[in-house]
């Protein structure tokens, strides 16, 4: 008949059509889930903000992921901190109360866990097969993964930004929850943060996702979000740290990281103001480090002793830009900026979500000190 179609080719066509239909249906499932509009309950931004700040009593269990695009180089003794803001961190988290929680940082074949119990804090490092019990309070310590889970990061940001403007944001489905959103716009001119977009469960106020966008940037450079969340109290057995036993290392310490160790050595006291910005005196008696300024315009100054200081200065001055004001170098990432200065054998490390211009003024002050 001229069409060239046979019974066999028609059967073949039907089979391929069936396969193509299966492919289309399977491919459409994630797309439909992603574009399906979220219908979060409308909550006034100020009310939502208040609920977020008060969400510390809400128990939850979840799987969270933070990812930073800051591209910070590895600084000696601070690689875990720089990695936190430059790579993706996968976390499992169980939270019963402020003094009973656990956060696992997952890697391929590795795991680093933090347990908070009413009595003490425990660190488990599978790679080194090491359990550490932290004795007493930690007046100062380095940032760690547990600080960048959405609830912790958002509550910390909100606690330091009382005067900043909040705007309503469209709802979004996060980890299966119809989340309500708000945008935090910093008032201070010295910060690099253009805005922080936050989504939270409208009923409990538990923050589920936060995105930090730098001034002049179109995309967030730091994001933390839940991929799974359950609003239920974790089982007590999950919150119980491993018991010390033969075959694993066990130590007790008051200074689990380099910063708390430096603080115990009591280096020089930090100045009351730097570049006109007053010291916060966060913890009485703290000598190694402190914050200056308020809100997102604040920065942290750490006084590094001897070898630690030399190594940090060498690394940052290699990757960063040397400043004219004496021995000083700066690394700019658009969001987080890091300054290192050396004067009279004293090294100061300064970091914050602040403009490089402010850090240059800080450098001038620290170098002539």
């Amino acid at each position: 008949m001229g069409t060239g179609r046979t019974v066999v080719s028609a059967q073949g066509l039907r089979r391929w059509l069936l396969v193509a239909t299966v492919v289309v249906v399977l491919a459409a499932i994630p797309i439909v889930i992603n574009v399906w509009p979220a219908r979060a309950a409308a909550v006034d931004p100020q009310t939502l903000r208040a609920r977020m700040a008060a969400s510390g009593t809400q128990a939850y269990q979840g799987y969270a992921q933070s990812s930073g695009l800051l591209g910070l180089p590895a600084i000696p003794n601070l690689t875990q901190v720089t990695a936190l803001f430059s790579t993706t961190t996968e976390m499992r988290t169980w939270y019963a109360a402020r003094n009973r929680w656990r956060v696992d940082v997952l890697g391929p074949g590795t795991e680093n866990d933090i347990y908070q119990t009413p009595q003490a804090q425990y660190l488990w490092d599978y790679g080194h097969s090491q359990l550490t019990r932290i004795v007493g309070d930690q007046p100062v310590r380095l940032p760690r993964a547990a600080d960048v889970t959405p609830p912790e990061l958002v509550r910390r940001l909100l606690s330091t930004s009382a005067g900043d403007r909040v705007e309503a944001l469209a709802g979004r489905r996060i980890a299966g929850v119809e989340a309500a959103g708000l945008r935090l716009v910093p008032a201070g001119p010295d910060t690099t943060v253009a805005h922080v977009d936050i989504w939270a469960d409208p009923q409990t106020g538990l923050p589920l996702q936060a995105e930090l966008t730098a001034r002049g940037g179109a995309r967030p450079v730091f994001t933390t979000r839940f991929l799974e969340i359950h609003f239920s109290e974790p089982d007590a057995s999950v919150l119980t740290p491993p018991a010390p036993r033969a075959g694993i290392g066990f130590t007790e310490t008051q200074a689990p990281d380099i910063l708390s160790a430096i603080n115990q050595r009591r280096p020089d006291s930090l100045p009351a103001t730097i570049a006109g910005v007053p010291r916060r005196n966060l913890v009485p008696g703290l000598t190694a480090a402190d914050a200056y300024g308020n809100g997102l315009s604040s920065f942290v100054v750490v006084s590094l002793p001897g070898r630690f200081g030399r190594e940090a200065y060498q690394q940052i001055s290699t990757f960063g830009t040397r400043l004219d004001t004496g021995d000083a170098a700066i690394i700019s990432t658009g969001l987080l900026n890091v300054l290192v200065t050396r004067a009279a054998r004293r090294t100061s490390l300064v970091a914050g979500l602040v403009q490089p211009a402010l850090l240059r003024r800080v450098a001038s002050d620290l170098v002539v000190r």
């Binding site: 299966v22 490092d125 740290p241």
Partner: protein
């Protein structure tokens, strides 16, 4: 038909050669580790390798981490690529189909024989690496005089009992079999497209290598969850406490999707394919 394919699988020396090679790699690594006592730094090298020096019972898991990324998928791709294309190249496919054998049944029998091969190969690796681990890295003797493996420390620091370890290893085997189904499906489909077994195997490996490269690329994050190799190492999550099911479930799901789609494509292509050789 299935019995014929299984008999063919176990009659061929190459099945045992491939299984022997898969068992050989963990053995070589174990000998080096046991003699030098130099484990890889934490977080580097194969998973669990830094832990096996103090606990030989965990060596099967370390062996899985050694063979899974390259050796096992290459073996499966070579065998799966040969299933139809090999028969076509040697001229036996035509005679096979002259017998009253449905083409769909033939494809299913080929796939089942591949699954049996994967189970056989993984079983061989587990048994040999368990014996290797206990022999080179240690075991304990109970009061009854029975040699027992020591308790294993999970990634989360808590102890896994020997019974718990067996359950987790069984879960690992099941998961790796499912992971290899995706590889088998890719190579099986390509095997129905070409008459060159090598071409089908190379095509499947090209897909896997591309997937592995894209998995590590942040710019490809949007498609990462759908790549066939994205969740291959999720079986490690069986050794966390509690077991992290998230990636295991996703990994099994994505492999089943690849299996359905590519097996469907192989079926659609093979049923109307002209067998000219």
């Amino acid at each position: 038909m299935i019995r014929v394919e299984l008999a063919k699988l176990f009659r061929r020396p190459r099945t045992y050669v491939i299984a022997g090679l898969l068992c050989g790699l963990p053995l070589i690594v174990a000998i080096f580790l046991a003699t030098t006592k130099i484990p890889p730094p934490p977080g580097q090298g194969g998973a669990f390798l830094s832990a096996v020096l103090s606990n030989g019972a965990l060596y099967p898991a370390a062996a899985m981490a050694l063979v899974l990324p390259v050796f096992l998928p290459v073996s499966v791709a070579v065998l799966a690529g040969d299933t139809v294309a090999g028969e076509a190249a040697t001229g036996t496919l035509r005679y096979l189909l002259i017998r009253p054998v449905g083409r769909t049944r033939l494809l299913v029998a080929k796939l089942l024989s591949l699954i049996v091969f994967v189970l056989f190969a993984i079983g061989a690796v587990l048994v040999t690496s368990y014996i290797t681990g206990l022999a080179l890295f240690g075991a304990t003797t109970s009061s009854a005089g029975v040699t027992l493996p020591p308790d294993v420390t999970s990634l989360s620091g808590v102890t896994i009992s020997p019974a718990g370890l067996v359950l987790r290893l069984l879960g690992t085997v099941a998961y790796i079999v499912v992971s290899m189904l995706g590889v088998a499906a890719i190579a099986l489909f390509l095997s129905t497209v070409t008459d060159s077994a090598l071409g089908a195997a190379m095509g499947a490996l090209a897909v896997l290598v591309t997937s592995q490269v894209l998995v590590t690329l942040d710019a490809a994050a949007a498609i990462r969850p759908y790549l066939p190799t994205r969740y291959w190492l999720a079986w490690i999550d069986f050794f966390r406490e509690p077991v992290l099911w998230r990636d295991i479930e996703r990994g099994a799901g994505i492999q089943l999707v690849y299996l359905v789609v590519l097996l469907g494509a192989a079926w659609a292509n093979f049923l109307t394919k002209d067998v000219a050789n």
